[in-house]
């Protein structure tokens, strides 16, 4: 017998049942939690605290059934079918017990030892749903824990149930044979006969035979060919559409008995979510509310985040004199290097409050369950671009960072739509691009004009995104299957401060990690290139490289320093400001003043347009490739993100010159 520390516990369930919260409760690891289906798009593993046994816990993405329709579901289904964890914690939602318990029965039919976590009981009680965990446990023969996983104390019984199950010899649950007995004739007779013959001819124990029949009739799990291979012709009469429909009905009736309510009873009262949805999904009020929410997010981002970012930048500047003091010890080279690196890092860290505000707003919207509504409302507009509403959430999550959006595309089940969304995500301006846009326009234009410039550039981004989407949609092969919106809208709930703060802190830490590794390394390289061979930027390696691009720069009104900064933004968008800081460091004034003197309005417009559409950063491109696994897609992204920015920048510069 293996020790508990080597045991493996998998957390599975349908999307939006609270698996990640339960994973966090079991392990203490702050898994990202969200209130829209598909928050966990890859399986994540951690260990439970040593005091609880230190076992391994795997958090699987949600899957609606054991038939995978999207990449995230495929991860979960393949894991459940081909891996044998010691315990599978199946998370069912007490708000919709009918379908989530049906899923639990399908997992049970895989003959896996199981603990059933009946989550969201607090919300269920409020909605008049009262489930008897003890009765369910008695019927299913597995431990059942009713809980509200967001309450820390509620998770204790679940931890205890898992620990006890691991200590004892874990057993699979009892599939209800009553479902087969309640089938109408001749299906009931055929099922009973198959059950008997499987035991006699294949020497299967009754639970194993029942599980095989269950999988045959539900159509979940193995393919029909595999079932025929396992059971020969014994299950053939059970594989008909009619038999499966009768099985579905019998299973539904059994679950209705188990939960003590029929599907009609579930509709006898109106839930709070339905009341809210009258407004949030209203054809006129809904889009207005969404526009107001997004506008509020922007106002908060700029109104709160931007001044905070400015103050942070000022605070970080206080360190600079201390670095310069190193000169007094004769450490000239080290001082120059530290200053170069510090300038780069400072410009990135100054963006932190701006990013944090956006993450906070999106985390709140996500946590309360609004994001799925936004996807629903945007479906019509997205369809005009050849996408559907599901693509909207990844596109929206691309605003804080394109990487979040790229990974979020796993929730899109249609492969064509997923590729199309992945293709256009780099055109969504991320916070880093927006910050550069806002900072430069604030420095180079009057406040009123700066607002117009930023809005104009954002509109241009959206138009280019729509154009690329439409063009790519026409060039891609026609869809092989009928597509259309089909998605679950989660129940609304109050924002959970802990969940939101975890989400924000997790993303901020990822940002800091990126800033403290990639940006520091890049700043060091950049400093080296701008310092050698003669400590003069213009004659440095970087300067010489930049000057080679001058012919292109002449067309769009950008000098070699702007062009070099633009190319540096390919490494990371934040690197653009760092590079500008290094290349324009005259030692006599601030960067803003220097730029104001040396960059014309026409050049600034063209440059900002180019940077907003330029190549996505290296980490985003890497993840884009790993998600799409399509060389064609990456080539297309590289092609449009190199051609479009320069072409549009040249047009804007030349037009601005003509006008002026």
């Amino acid at each position: 017998m293996i020790s508990i520390a080597e045991s493996l516990v998998a957390v599975a369930g349908q999307p939006n049942t609270g698996k990640s919260t339960i994973f966090s409760a079991l392990t203490g690891v702050h898994q990202e939690v969200g209130n829209w289906p598909g928050k966990t798009v890859e399986k994540k593993q951690a260990r439970a605290p040593l005091g609880q046994g230190g076992y391994h816990v795997v958090d699987l993405p949600g899957s609606y059934s054991l038939h995978a329709h999207s990449p995230e579901e495929r991860i979960a289904v393949e894991y459940l079918l081909h891996t044998a964890p010691d315990i599978t914690v199946v998370v069912a939602s007490a708000l919709s017990p009918e379908r989530t318990l049906a899923y639990a029965l399908e997992v049970m039919a895989l003959e896996r030892p199981m603990v059933l976590a009946l989550n969201m009981t607090d919300l269920a009680e409020k909605n008049g749903i009262h489930l008897d965990a003890k009765a369910i446990a008695a019927k299913l023969g597995v431990p059942v824990v009713a809980l509200s996983a967001i309450c820390r104390k509620d998770a204790d019984p679940l931890r205890e149930a898992v620990r006890q199950a691991l200590h004892s010899q874990p057993q699979p649950g009892r599939l209800p044979v009553a479902v087969l007995q309640n089938l109408p004739q001749p299906a009931a007779a055929a099922a009973t006969e198959s059950l008997r013959q499987l035991q006699e001819q294949h020497n299967l124990a009754e639970p194993a035979a029942l599980a095989l029949i269950w999988r045959s009739m539900s159509g979940e799990g193995e393919s029909e060919a595999r079932l025929r291979e396992l059971a020969g012709s014994l299950v053939a009469p059970l594989l008909t559409t009619e038999a499966r429909q009768q099985f579905d009905a019998a299973r539904r009736d059994w679950i209705a008995q188990l939960t003590g309510r029929k599907s009609r009873d579930a509709l006898t009262r109106q839930s709070t979510t339905a009341v809210w949805d009258r407004w949030f999904l209203h054809p006129v009020a809904g889009p207005c509310i969404m526009a107001a929410i997004l506008l509020l997010a922007l106002i908060l981002g700029f109104g709160v985040g931007f001044p905070l970012a400015y103050k942070t930048g000022e605070a970080l500047s206080l360190v600079t004199p201390y670095i310069e003091d190193l000169n007094s010890y004769g450490l000239h080279l080290i001082t120059a290097m530290c200053l170069g690196v510090w300038r780069g890092v400072r410009s990135v860290f100054a963006m932190l409050p701006f990013v944090a505000v956006f993450y906070t707003v999106f985390a709140i919207l996500d946590d309360v369950g609004y994001m799925a509504r936004a996807a629903f409302l945007m479906d019509r507009a997205m369809r005009r671009l050849g996408l559907n509403g599901k693509a909207f959430v990844p596109l929206l999550f691309s605003i804080p960072c394109n990487i979040s959006g790229i990974v979020g595309c796993r929730t899109i089940d249609d492969p064509r739509q997923r590729l199309l969304t992945l293709l256009v995500i780099p055109l969504v301006p991320c916070t880093a691009k927006i910050i550069v846009m806002v900072t430069l326009s604030a420095w180079l234009f009057t406040p009123a004009v700066a607002i117009l410039v930023v809005l104009g550039l954002l509109t241009l981004n959206m138009l280019v995104l729509a154009g690329v989407c439409l063009l790519a949609g026409k060039m891609m092969p026609a869809p092989v299957r009928e597509s259309g919106l089909l998605m679950e809208l989660p129940h609304f709930h109050r924002p959970n401060v802990l969940t939101i703060s975890r989400y924000v802190s997790r993303n901020i830490m990822a940002f800091i990690k990126k800033a403290s590794t990639l940006i520091v390394a890049f700043s060091a390289v950049l400093w080296f290139l701008s310092y050698y061979p003669s400590a003069n930027v213009e004659q440095s390696l970087l300067g010489q490289m930049g000057k080679m691009l001058q012919p292109l720069g002449d067309l769009m009104g950008a000098d070699w320093r702007l062009l070099t900064s633009l190319l540096a933004s390919g490494v990371s968008k934040e690197a653009l400001m760092a590079t500008l800081g290094v290349l324009y460091d005259t030692g006599t004034g601030t960067l803003a003043e220097t730029l104001r003197v040396s960059v014309s309005h026409a050049s600034a417009l063209a440059f900002m347009c180019a940077q907003s559409l330029f190549f996505p950063c290296i980490p985003a491109t890497g993840i884009l490739y790993s998600e799409a696994r399509s060389f064609t897609l990456i080539t297309a992204v590289v092609a449009y993100s190199l051609i479009l920015p320069f072409a549009l920048a040249i047009m804007i510069y030349q037009a601005a010159r003509l006008v002026s």
């Binding site: 349908q14 609606y64 059934s65 038939h67 329709h69 939602s93 708000l95 919709s96 017990p97 009918e98 379908r99 049906a102 899923y103 909605n127 749903i129 429909q245 579905d248 009905a249 539904r252 029929k262 599907s263 009609r264 579930a266 509709l267 006898t268 009262r269 109106q270 839930s271 979510t273 339905a274 949805d277 999904l281 209203h282 054809p283 006129v284 799925a372 629903f376 479906d379 019509r380 509403g389 299957r481 009928e482 259309g484 919106l485 089909l486 998605m487 679950e488 809208l489 989660p490 129940h491």
Partner: protein
């Protein structure tokens, strides 16, 4: 929007016709004296100056009330649009209402013509202001009419295409020949035509039935009321908001059907329509499901008498 049955739609349309009739009566019975042949505000002023002030005030007072009744009628007009056209529906309703707000103000200001008739300078300014109000009514009215004609011709409403001829814009064009009618027909017909055309419009619309002739069977129209009709094998679309039905069949592509089943949309389960439109939202087994029109159309239900 709340649920409106074809019967209540008819009631709303009749209220609209009543509003038009009230405004017409205000014009004809309370405002006008005899002998006016120039129907412009300036031309009518001398004839109105001879009317008793109490009659004029009463006539002016009828304006806002008539506008309210008109708005009820426009609500009925908006409900003639099929489900999935909510934005168009709201645009038509709001534009018509906006037109009639100005229309009511226009009507209510007519007594000033009589009160200021003695002072040519003030009269001209009053007439100019009333003309401006008329403009405020005409522009949204024309826009709403164009939108409604577009909806009728594109089949977005339950109206036959010929109905486009009985909408305000084409009827308004008939005013030109009416201007040449002799007295005593001129004033009641040409002078009151703007209200008469709405009486025609509302009453013509009130005669429109949903496509299959059955009340509430209009493809899930917000103006339908399937919840009071029980019959086998109706489309899920036929459920009005709040209506509950029992799913009979689901015949979508296999992958869609599997997903629907996993979400609880299975034969035998009860389902409630929460939001009709091009994308529906239904509630089933405690789950809210958004599904495209094409999938909803392939789910049949047995409507129940229950609604929430």
């Amino acid at each position: 929007m709340t649920m409106v049955t074809p019967r209540s739609r008819t009631v709303f349309l009749c209220l609209g016709a009543l509003g038009a009739a009230l405004m017409y009566a205000g014009d004809m019975l309370l405002y006008w004296g005899s002998g006016a042949t120039d129907l412009s505000p300036l031309g009518l002023a001398p004839a109105m100056a001879g009317v008793a002030p109490e009659r004029l005030v009463l006539g002016g007072y009828a304006g806002p009330l008539a506008s309210l009744l008109y708005a009820a009628g426009f609500w009925g007009i908006a409900r003639l649009l099929r489900p999935g056209r909510q934005i168009l529906q709201w645009l038509v309703f709001l534009l018509f209402c906006m037109a009639m707000l100005y229309g009511g103000a226009y009507h209510s200001h007519y007594p000033h013509l009589a009160f200021t008739a003695a002072n040519p300078h003030t009269l001209a300014r009053t007439a100019g202001y009333i003309d401006l109000l008329a403009m405020g009514a005409s522009v949204p009215m024309a826009c709403a009419s164009v939108l409604f004609i577009y909806a009728v011709l594109r089949g977005f409403t339950y109206c036959p295409r010929a109905m486009a001829l009985l909408t305000p814009l084409p009827l308004f064009l008939c005013a030109a020949p009416l201007q040449h009618l002799p007295e005593p027909l001129l004033l009641p017909l040409a002078g009151g035509w703007n209200n008469l055309l709405f009486i025609i419009f509302f009453l013509a619309c009130a005669r429109v039935r949903n496509k299959d002739g059955a009340p509430g069977a209009g493809h899930g129209a917000p103006g339908a009321d399937a919840t009071h009709e029980a019959g086998p094998g109706r489309s899920l679309d036929s459920l009005a908001p709040g209506g509950i039905g029992i799913i009979q069949t689901v015949s979508c592509p296999a992958d869609v059907q599997e997903r629907l089943a996993a979400l609880g949309i299975n034969p035998g389960n009860a389902v409630r329509m929460l939001r009709p439109g091009d994308n529906r939202v239904v509630e089933c087994c405690g789950t809210f499901v958004a599904l495209a029109e094409k999938f909803a159309g392939r789910i049949t239900i047995t409507p129940t008498d229950e609604t929430l």
